[in-house]
């Protein structure tokens, strides 16, 4: 259920900047706030952590967005909290064992 407050640095190219703002306005999970200079406050409200991350990546990839920084995150009741859960402390298995099981799908979009 992440609720995040972001500071988006916009491009100084008018067309790209305007396109980025339009994209934000049309994205229902984003709420636009104050713009000051090149910087704009944005709140993201998504259903789960992976969606939050995906939305971040989409926004970051826009030509009119130079950088996104974070000012706030609420992660109460985050239903993805066990995504990387390792086995219990008693067994002391490596958490990376879990990473290996998921790497093929994840790395396709995020890594080598």
């Amino acid at each position: 259920m992440p609720v995040s407050g972001w500071v988006v640095t916009l491009s100084d190219r008018p067309a790209s900047r305007a396109a980025a703002i339009r994209w934000i306005d049309q994205e229902p999970r984003l709420e636009r706030g104050v713009i000051s200079g090149q910087r704009m406050a944005v709140v993201a409200d998504t259903t789960h952590a992976a969606a939050d991350r995906e939305l971040w990546s989409q926004l970051e990839s826009l030509p009119g967005v130079v950088m996104i920084e974070v000012a706030f995150i609420g992660f109460e009741d985050d239903d993805d909290s066990d995504d990387t859960a390792a086995p219990t402390a008693i067994s002391l298995h490596r958490p990376a064992d879990r990473l290996l099981q998921t790497e093929q799908t994840e790395s396709a979009s995020h890594g080598p």
Binding site: G5, F72, L92, P95, G111
Partner: protein, 816 residues
């Protein structure tokens, strides 16, 4: 979630983001002076959260966060607009710092190895086991700590070892990341830590990153350089010109104004080449040098960190060997670029800040190159004005505050004291109220030696039998771990590990202790700009996890109960006795009473007395409660307020510069108020590519993961963004080797091998003939491959240069 609660969180998120936008475009608000002023603007709107300040748990930048707590659980994190360092912003790791508390596999109970199994034991049993092993052979016990120790944790460990056991075998993991920075400062100024602060990044015209990737390793700090217009920095509206000097193209290179590719060890040659041009063309700052500098070089035989004096003429003569053509050959920097850099340093109208981190520190000439970059700034007069500063960065939150200032290195004592110095030992014994002669004059084992001795059978001279590791993960982070941290070790050795999650090190431990982390305990950190920061415990740790500081005190008290003399002071009292307001001893060694008083405050106030011994003055504890950190030396003004210091050694800024001097290096090793400009000859790296192992390997960090990944891998967003280790290969090498992205290859050196997927044109791009691998992935330990060659003075190993080959897996070959 309750819709009202969700609406509240959205309001708080917008308020925090708006505040961050505005705080970067308007004058900064004053530091909060009351707890109420510290709250985010919407905290009183009803969501029921309690907000508290804390520094981030990760790197050495020391961003402050606001932590939202509800019913004993951290549920929100916001940037802290009152924090000078971060001005309301956080990087992607800081943003998720609250989630590191809640991985499902937190260690919650002491575990003792019995055969191949771990069994749960009580804390009483665990403390007994440790105390009995120490009592049996106190001189064969070693303590390995961390730049993530809080100040109180490091101070307690240090006092326990050096003041209690008379044993100096204590060293921190910071030996692996900033020891060469320490020796560089000591050799140049006679005292450790930067003269400048992060404010120089706001004030400079040119920022030079020497083998440093702050866009990934220190992102909020780097944003201050490249996002200056939005910072509203007065008088410096233009973004800094960033010149990135490196052996690999990184995210910093992409954001820099210019990237200059160096050969490995090219930094040494480059600094020498620039100095040669400045002198040979009479463009150095003669007035500055004549007033404030001496010249120095290593002795021909048995060189020491102190070196020997040389004349300016001799210094100039030695530099003559570093002609532009030769420097171009050694460094890979074209002659015209070398001249451009010399022109830049010759221009006193621009302000130049140099920053560096692992590239210059993890270097077999780490002391040399640190000293040379300081010398370059001194020779050119780019020192002592806002924006003119050579400044090292640190990778851990308290590598400076705990390791360097508290003095948890094997040769050091608190307050810049040295175990080998009789007067210093006497000072510490006096302040600790210990019998004369309690402190051992012989420096203990540095990190690499400590682990080598632990890995060696006692019968073969391995004289460390019991090793206690707190707050770090050496089985993943040491270099050449097949030698220094083998999974099979002699039977008579005993490894104790305190940590928050299972790690590569807990896997091979004999006793595992569950630790509290971050806001589950009181704490103080000291960041890279001399800023001491404080926070209070906000929530309880899970299960039976406990504070590292408590563990040390409990072990010490068990030894006290066993009659171990070292745990008593001159009056026969326990060395960690903490008194309440009535003068009664609080039994803080019993966990149920540990928070009856503020042990952090008691230890800090004791430690603070040491800070006065080397002009690193700290303020009383309560001053840090209301501030977002204060940069030492902190002195009291006549009106009773406490004042921090932005520029050390500079008149009008540094309270210890007296008289009419513009600058005074008052810890000068030549005792004349002057800094030392060093000459060091270029030396080749310890291992170079050859026919058998034709590629350079460099290792390092990535934005989303922090160090060995033991915390960040528990955060789904961070893990998903960077799930596995990899090896970056240059496209031309990949073509020659017929490699494609995603293909698994074996990266192999003379010391070991690891299997990694190839990444071509990935996060960074190494030059042809060079590969890069991050070290965060526990399932792919790149440190099986790295070399343990080290700097002779700092004892810091070089993780950035060794020779490897890439091949495909052989039939039947397996990798751990």
């Amino acid at each position: 979630m309750d819709p009202k609660r969700r609406a509240f969180l959205k309001t708080a998120a917008m308020a925090a983001a708006t505040s961050a936008v505005n705080s970067r475009t308007q004058a900064q608000p004053p530091l909060a002076t009351t707890a109420t002023a510290a709250l985010p603007p919407s905290a009183a709107d009803g969501g029921g959260l309690q907000w508290h300040k804390a520094p981030c748990r990760f790197c050495g930048v020391g961003c402050h966060v606001q932590v939202g707590v509800d019913e004993g659980r951290v549920v929100a994190v916001a940037g802290d607009r009152h924090a000078d360092v971060s001005k309301g912003l956080l990087c992607v790791k800081g943003y998720h710092v609250g989630s590191i508390l809640y991985g499902s596999d937190r260690l919650t109970q002491p575990l003792l190895r019995q055969g191949d199994e771990f069994v749960e034991i009580s804390w009483q049993q665990a403390i007994d086991v440790i105390a009995e092993r120490i009592a049996r052979a106190p001189d064969r016990f070693a303590f390995y700590g961390s730049g993530q120790w809080t100040i109180a944790e490091g101070y307690a460990a240090q006092k326990f070892m050096k003041g209690g056991l008379g044993n100096n075998h204590i060293d921190p993991n910071a030996r692996l990341c900033m020891a060469s920075a320490v020796t560089g400062y000591l050799a140049t100024y006679g005292v450790d830590e930067p003269a400048g602060t992060f404010d120089d990044i706001d004030a400079c015209d040119v920022l030079i990153t020497w083998g440093n990737n702050p866009a990934e390793s220190h992102p909020v700090l780097f944003s201050r350089a490249i996002d200056r217009p939005a910072h509203g920095v007065k008088g410096r509206a233009q973004a800094a010109r960033v010149i990135d000097l490196g052996t690999r193209r990184t995210r910093t290179s992409e954001l820099a104004s210019e990237f200059i590719l160096l050969k490995p060890h090219g930094d040494v040659a480059l600094a020498l080449g620039i100095m040669h041009l400045l002198i040979s063309e009479s463009r150095y700052d003669r007035t500055f040098v004549e007033q404030f500098c001496n010249f120095r070089a290593l002795q021909t035989e048995q060189p020491t960190l102190q070196g020997e004096p040389i004349s300016f003429a001799e210094f100039s003569r030695r530099l003559q060997a570093y002609t532009p053509d030769r420097v171009a050959e050694l460094s890979g920097v074209p002659v015209e670029k070398l001249r451009e850099l010399a022109d830049l340093f010759a221009d006193r109208s621009v302000r130049i800040t140099s920053v560096w981190c692992m590239g210059m520190n993890q270097h077999t000439q780490g002391t040399a190159v640190n000293s040379l970059v300081h010398g370059l700034h001194l020779l050119s007069g780019h020192f002592g004005r806002p924006g003119d500063a050579p400044t090292s960065l640190t990778g851990q939150p308290s590598a400076c505050g705990t390791v360097r200032e508290v003095g948890t290195l094997a040769h050091a004592l608190p307050g810049g004291r040295l175990v080998a110095n009789e007067e210093h030992r006497a000072q510490c014994e006096e302040l600790w109220n210990l019998p004369q002669g309690r402190i051992n004059p012989k420096p203990g084992y540095d990190t690499l030696r400590m682990f080598a001795q632990f890995a060696t059978p006692s019968s073969e001279g391995g004289d460390i039998d019991t090793l206690f590791v707190q707050v770090t993960n050496p089985a993943q982070s040491l270099p050449n771990i097949n030698r220094l941290m083998p999974t099979e070790r002699p039977m008579d050795k005993f490894l104790i590990v305190a940590d928050v999650y299972p790690t590569a090190t807990t896997q091979i431990a004999d006793l595992v202790l569950p630790a509290s982390m971050w806001v589950e305990k009181n704490g103080m950190f000291g960041n890279s700009e001399r800023r001491t920061q404080q926070w209070f415990k906000m929530i309880d740790p899970p299960g039976d996890a406990r504070d590292d500081c408590w563990m040390t005190i409990a072990i010490a008290h068990r030894l006290f109960e066993l009659g171990y003399e070292g745990m008593r002071d001159r009056n026969g009292e326990f060395i960690f006795a903490v008194k309440d307001g009535d003068g009664q001893t609080v039994p803080v060694w019993e966990w149920e009473h540990y928070y009856d008083t503020n042990v952090d405050k008691a230890l800090f106030e004791e430690y603070r007395r040491f800070s006065l011994l080397k002009h690193k003055n700290l303020a009383p504890y309560e001053e840090y409660v209301s501030a977002r950190g204060l940069r030492w030396p902190v002195v009291q003004d006549p009106d009773g307020s406490w004042r921090e210091t932005k520029l050390r050694f500079v008149a009008g800024e540094d309270p210890f510069v007296k008289g009419d001097k513009r600058l005074d290096f008052y810890h000068s090793t030549t005792q004349d108020g002057r800094a030392q400009i060093w000459f060091h000859d270029y030396e080749a790296p310890a291992e170079m590519p050859d026919e058998e192992y034709p590629l350079w390997l460099s290792t390092g960090r990535v934005l989303e993961q922090w160090h060995t990944g033991s915390m960040t891998n528990r955060v789904p967003q961070l893990h998903t963004a960077m799930p596995i280790g990899y090896v970056e290969v240059n496209p031309s090498d990949a073509e020659a080797l017929n490699l494609r992205s995603g293909e698994l290859v074996v990266v192999e050196s003379r010391r070991g091998a690891v299997e990694l997927p190839v990444w071509i044109q990935g996060r960074g791009t190494p030059p042809p003939g060079s590969v890069f691998a991050p070290f965060f992935d526990q399932s792919r330990l790149i440190n099986r491959v790295t070399i343990d060659a080290r700097d002779p003075f700092s004892k810091q190993p070089d993780y950035k240069k060794c020779a490897v080959r890439i091949r495909r897996r052989r039939d039947g070959e397996t990798f751990e």
